[in-house]
Amino acid sequence: MIVAIVPAFNEEKRIGSVVRSLFSHVDTVVVVNDASTDNTEQIAQECGATVLTHATNRGQGAALETGHVFARQCGAEYVLHFDGDGQFDVQDIVPALKKIQEARADILFGSRYLDNRSTSVPWFKRYILRPCATYIIDRPFTGLPLSDAHNGFRILHKKALDKIYISQDGMAHATEIPFLVRKHNLSFVEFPVKVTYYSYGQSATAGMTIIKDLFFGKFLK
């Protein structure tokens, strides 16, 4: 059983097409509506998704973990992380699943930098933010040589799902997941995925918040 987890906050414009396109590749689509103030919840429900609604906005990491709890309860064999803003291409799902199965890996990380399909990545992000984030935050913190740790496309096998509990509510979860992969000695593979930008996404100031969250998160259980 493959469960797609789609964290969504005010995504009424694209959530419908994302959910409909996912159904031809996975068994269940779970939209975690992170207290959207628009029609995200209704549209996702009308499209047939299971909608879990947060009463208050908790962040993408928190939404993914809510989806994880649901997937563990369902007994999912694979879990797909897929953003609700339509930036990913569903055509990448089947080859990515094949890759994780063939490699017998516990987790697959999508990367927009392993091929040339993601042409809309902003210049500043590609050449300034990404190297800084990779060499200053991600690699020292996680120890994993990932080319695109903050890519929201991931596939987790049941073994990884049982080990990875996301405690970072915000965007720092993208650094926490590789950290947990290393901590629990899970095997991983990277896979090229296409990313289409509809908005700028995370800024440099968001990077500072990630560092702060990771630092203070170390003081909590």
């Binding site: 947060h54 009463a55 908790r58 973990e65 809510t66 509510d169 003081f219 909590l220």
Partner: protein, 116 residues
């Protein structure tokens, strides 16, 4: 010297207001006895230092700091840093608690909807 006297006068007034507020809070049972005693001692100590500025110089000298006032500033910065960090960690812990409750509610609501 005149500035210092003026500052001392202002600080005495400020301390009086703080002590009055502490006593009021203690009477209203907002503060625990331990916290009340801690804050009273802290304000009395601060007043003593302001009224007798040379009293801290000897302690400062033993730490290799030139002036007593410098030692107080260093200690105050360290204490503020410690307090703010503690508050931040507490805040983060409470945020995670809110997330846990929010998650439970979301999953419970889904279960109820499916049963209904």
């Amino acid at each position: 010297m005149k500035t210092l006297i003026l500052f001392q006068f202002i600080f005495i007034a400020f301390t009086a207001v703080a002590l009055f507020s502490l006593i009021k809070k203690q009477k209203e049972h907002v503060l625990s006895t331990r916290a009340f005693v801690f804050w009273i001692l802290l304000w009395v100590f601060a007043l003593g230092v302001v009224l007798l500025p040379n009293s801290t110089s000897k302690i400062a000298a033993t730490f290799g700091v030139g002036r007593g006032v410098d030692l107080i500033i260093y200690c105050a910065i360290a204490a503020i840093f410690f307090l703010i960090s503690g508050l931040h960690i507490k805040l983060l812990s409470q945020r995670r608690e809110i997330t846990r409750i929010t998650r439970k509610l979301a999953l419970l609501e889904d279960r109820v909807n499916k049963k209904g």
